[in-house]
């Protein structure tokens, strides 16, 4: 392993600009002549707009334009789209209501966009928003997902008369019924997966710019996938053809899924730039982020699991209602279906599974992918079920899991997925050892002496990452392919630029991708620049989400590097006057086998460009290669997390005492960065389990709309994490990488809740397990103890 190659904990190249305040986030960019946009948002969850009077706002100081949904319609600007078609059980397509970027006659959630004011200064734009007068006719809002589809419920979209987006299923119902018929024990559980608000620290922002000389637009935006944004804005929304629309996603301050989607604000900014003839900038404030960023999770589920008399799992049936909010966001439809149900087999050999999912409209913000996207919800179901089943059957939860682990690979689950590789027992062994499981009983007794309730909880998660084979996702309804692209440009002096379709917003691609190049070409990482986030510079790419940039994005780079080396060998053969077959490439030097004649990588690059040693008929000059990599399967990272915690029954305060995470991510490029990803994921998962929950009141007001009411994990809410690694390289991509970005967020919630329920001695606790909720639950435990 070289100092900067694969496997080295290289310090990040991008850090210098961030620690010196020189990052360039969208809001740090200012365009000459720039104007400022402020949106009027609905304060009502469900209303028709009887009258929209913008006349006073138009006359306000500094106002350049006030634009509404009518103006969008006049310009034939299309609505926002949902790019994954789901079909219901009966074969009917999902019911997608129209989603204009500015309301056209109706508002459907608090925060819904009604109009935009464009003014010389932000203060003037905000002041003028106050001067828009809206006459609303209030409609009864639909807030409670459990009753949204009841007959007589108000209708949110005419196309969905019962507020049902789809009624979908997966698996073999008959086989599952048969499995239950043979069961000796059935575990049943009602499970709520609480609604979360992603809260990347950088609020979304956009600057639209129009060059009338070129008749071309530029959009600077906080995006995880600028090419996808350009495609949607061009092909569906109709802003401009792709070659006339440049999308730049510069430094982006965290995404976690919420910056995948194409939102109203950037659509309006780029469209309005042409209308006002000047750049239009919008920067969201935190309240806007709470109201109108796509939220995550929000499922209610009933699950049943059938076991034989020894505790072997025979079957699983799951019925889930998924809240999709007021409109279908860009990828929302696939999250509770194809990113959820296929993961319900977990790490276990389950012969029969049947899943039903109802997607539901409510008058709340749209819900879409948030770190893990469907997989945390699935993992929470299966890991709660196995934990409870083990307890009900009087078996050790670790042993119960081990008994049911899949032990031979490849393994075809009954719900689409074919796991290529893994060693679940190895992760469990290491986790038990690191967590000192054998002495847990003693620690529990010691806690009890202090009047504290100690619990331990497991989560043996699996996720499907590196999404994914284009043909496969296409057959499941995806509107796009999920390959990735790369171009490797070698300069005449031997430095390298890699243009990648992936996008880095905290993941450290500038470092890890450079490590791959360093490893393969034998040059230092300072000789490598990673270019991303600009559709004018980079070939079409699919962006970063679903832990795919290592497995898919780097595989594309790897393929392009193969081509670079192959071409360079040809050049070297001419330069060294040897036959191509005799050229060897090692540690950055091309040599003629069995001789001392060799050239450094940089010398060969120069030969490729001066082209003196070969004729154009024999070989093209230059050294630049591209690749599009389409994976043949998902990747399947897995692991075991163990949470041990202590509850003070007098206050309900839960303190996490130790966290053990053992993960199998396949091959790892930079262990320092991978551990950082695990830490951050666990923090978000612990946040879901203990602290975070989006709450709408019965009228659809979001009452957790600031950091005063939405409890973000802070430094003193979390412990240090003990990280362990086991490795079974992925068999379906050239680098053996599985992906690590979402693991912590997927693994953590059931580990926490399993530990709390272990401490409490009963299963009645919901997320977030706030001190108040835990205190109430602990009182039940004390009563129960007293009664015994």
């Amino acid at each position: 392993m070289s100092a900067t190659g694969i496997g080295a904990p290289v310090r990040r190249k991008e850090d210098f600009r961030f620690i010196t305040g020189k990052g360039q986030y969208t809001d740090d960019i200012n365009r000459p002549g720039q104007t400022h946009a402020a949106f009027l948002r609905s304060p009502h969850a469900h209303a028709t707009i009887k009258k929209l009077d913008i006349s006073e706002a138009q006359k306000a100081d500094g106002v350049i334009a006030v634009l509404t949904g009518e103006d969008l319609a006049k310009d034939n600007v299309g609505g926002l789209i949902c790019g994954w078609m789901i079909h219901s059980k009966d074969g009917s397509p999902m019911k997608a209501g129209s989603h204009p970027a500015l309301a056209q006659g109706k508002v459907r959630y608090v925060g819904d966009h009604i109009a935009v004011v464009i003014a010389e200064t932000l203060a003037q734009a905000r002041d003028a928003v106050e001067k828009i007068h809206v006459d609303y006719e209030l409609l009864k809002p639909v807030i409670d997902m459990a009753h949204a589809t009841d007959s007589g419920s108000p209708v949110i979209h005419d196309v969905a008369p019962h507020n049902q987006v789809y009624d979908w299923h997966l698996g073999d119902k008959g086989a599952t019924e048969a499995a239950f018929a043979n069961a000796k024990h059935v575990t049943k559980l009602d499970i709520v997966n609480n609604r979360l608000i992603p809260n990347a620290m950088e609020p979304r922002a956009a600057i639209g710019d129009y060059d009338s000389g070129q008749d071309a637009f530029t959009l600077y935006t906080t995006s995880q996938n600028p090419h996808v944004a350009r495609l949607v804005l061009s092909a569906f929304i109709g802003i401009a053809p792709e070659h006339k629309l440049r999308v730049i996603a510069p430094d982006v301050g965290g995404g976690f899924g919420s910056k995948i989607f194409i939102y109203a604000e950037e659509t309006v900014c780029v469209w309005a730039a042409k209308k006002v003839g000047r750049p239009v900038k919008w920067t969201g404030d935190r309240t806007e982020a709470f109201l109108a960023d796509a939220h995550g999770r929000d499922h209610i589920t009933h699950a049943e699991m059938a076991m034989d008399d020894k505790g072997h799992i025979l079957g699983l049936r799951v019925k889930t209602k998924a809240n999709l909010g007021a409109y279908l966001s860009t990828f929302s439809s696939c999250v509770p279906t194809y990113l959820y149900a296929p993961l319900l087999s977990g790490q276990y050999n389950i012969p029969a599974i049947y899943v039903e999912v109802e997607g539901i409209y409510t008058n709340t913000a749209p819900v879409d992918a948030y770190r893990g996207a469907g997989r945390p919800e699935a993992t929470f179901v299966i890991e709660r079920m196995v934990e409870v089943a083990a307890r009900e059957m009087g078996q050790d939860p670790a042993a119960f899991r081990r008994k049911n682990f899949i032990k031979s690979f490849p393994h075809q689950t009954p719900v689409i997925m074919a796991y290529d590789t893994g060693n679940y027992g190895a992760s469990m062994d290491l986790a038990l050892e690191m967590a000192d499981y054998k002495n847990f009983g003693k620690r529990k007794r010691d806690s009890a002496k202090k009047g504290m309730l100690r619990g331990i909880g497991f989560s043996a998660y699996i996720e499907a990452c590196g999404i994914a084979p284009s043909a496969a996702v296409g057959s499941l309804g995806a509107g796009v392919g999920l390959w990735e692209s790369a171009e490797v440009r070698v300069n005449p002096v031997g430095t390298v630029e890699v243009l990648t379709g992936s996008h880095s917003h905290g993941q450290g691609h500038e470092t890890t991708f450079a490590q791959l190049v360093s490893d393969r070409l034998g040059i230092g990482i300072d000789q490598v620049a990673i270019v991303h986030g600009d559709t004018d510079k980079v070939q079409f790419g699919m962006g970063t989400y679903g832990s795919r940039s290592g497995a898919v994005g780097m595989s594309a780079i790897s393929k392009a590097l193969d081509k670079v080396v192959a071409k360079a060998k040809k050049v070297a053969a001419y330069a060294l006057e040897a036959s191509e077959g005799d050229i060897e490439f090692k540690d950055g030097r091309f040599s003629v086998a069995g001789t001392d004649r060799s050239l450094a990588f940089g010398e060969v690059a120069l030969q490729a460009y001066i082209a003196h040693k070969f004729s154009g008929q024999d070989l093209e000059p230059g050294l630049k290669e591209g690749a599009f990599y389409d994976p043949t399967n998902f990747t399947f990272p897995s692991g075991v997390h163990i949470c041990e915690l202590e509850i003070d029954p007098d206050t309900g305060v839960t303190r996490i005492d130790r966290w053990t995470a053992v993960d199998d991510f396949g091959n790892i490029i930079n262990p320092m960065i991978v551990e950082g990803q695990v830490h951050g994921g666990i923090a978000q998962g612990v946040g879901q389990a203990l602290l975070e929950g989006a709450h709408y009141d019965a009228n659809g007001q979001l009452v957790t709309a600031s950091y005063m009411d939405y409890c973000m994990p802070r430094a003193d809410d979390l412990p240090n994490f003990d990280i362990g690694i086991t490795t079974t390289p992925c068999t379906t991509n050239p680098l053996g990488i599985k992906g690590c970005g979402e693991a912590g967020a997927i693994a953590a919630p059931p580990a926490v809740i399993n530990a709390i329920t272990d401490a409490l001695g009963h299963e009645q606790i919901a997320m977030p397990a706030s001190p108040q909720a835990v205190w109430r639950a602990a009182q039940k435990s004390l009563h129960k103890l007293a009664a015994e």
């Binding site: 310090r11 990040r12 991008e14 850090d15 210098f16 600009r17 961030f18 620690i19 010196t20 305040g21 020189k22 990052g23 360039q24 986030y25 809001d27 740090d28 203060a123 809260n199 990347a200 620290m201 950088e202 609020p203 430094d251 982006v252 301050g253 965290g254 976690f256 404030d285 935190r286 309240t287 917003h505 905290g506 993941q507 450290g508 320092m672 960065i673 551990e675 950082g676 830490h679 951050g680 994921g681 666990i682 923090a683 978000q684 600031s706 950091y707 005063m708 973000m712 994990p713 802070r714 430094a715 003193d716 979390l718 240090n720 994490f721 912590g744």
Partner: protein
């Protein structure tokens, strides 16, 4: 419009501003010091922390006018002659940042913690003292390590 004068990162600056201008706006918009960030609107997240007369403050809830005559240091003012401040170096060395958005405020708060609490900081103290700074990426594990390491390094660099 009112006049304000202050020293920012060692340089004297003065400007005529709208009285409601916040210090963070003054830094970002008038002086183009965009390293100081705005992450929330309720003074909770700490992305906007700068030092005013040697103390950490949240520049999103401070009027620029109240800093008239003050000495302000932002993230851009920590490194001198290309040499990073020990706390900046510690964040890089310990992977104390991912997306980088909270980082400037985190580093400014961390230096303030050391100024107030000394160089030998235990994990518990660091975690409690970071209460006013939210990070969504790192889970704080490596930030805590960075602050402890930076605190030690600051003792050595005195």
């Amino acid at each position: 419009m009112i006049s304000v004068s202050m020293t920012v990162n060692g340089k004297a600056v003065s400007a005529k501003i709208d009285p409601r201008t916040l210090l963070v706006q003054f830094l970002r918009e008038n002086l183009l010091l965009t390293g100081t960030h705005v992450g929330c609107d309720t003074s909770q997240c700490g992305a906007c922390v700068v030092h005013v007369d040697g103390k950490a403050i949240k520049s999103c809830t401070t009027l620029a006018a109240t800093c008239d005559g003050a000495s302000v240091v932002t993230i851009e003012g920590l490194a001198h002659d290309g040499v990073l401040h020990p706390m900046q170096e510690a964040f890089r060395e310990n992977h104390g940042l991912q997306c980088g958005f909270c980082t400037p405020g985190m580093i400014m708060s961390a230096i303030d913690i050391v100024n107030r609490k000394g160089h030998d900081l235990d994990e518990h103290t660091i975690r409690e003292e970071l209460e006013g700074n939210i990070c969504r990426c790192t889970g704080y594990h490596n930030i805590v390590k960075s602050v402890a390491a930076g605190a030690h390094a600051m003792a050595g660099s005195k």
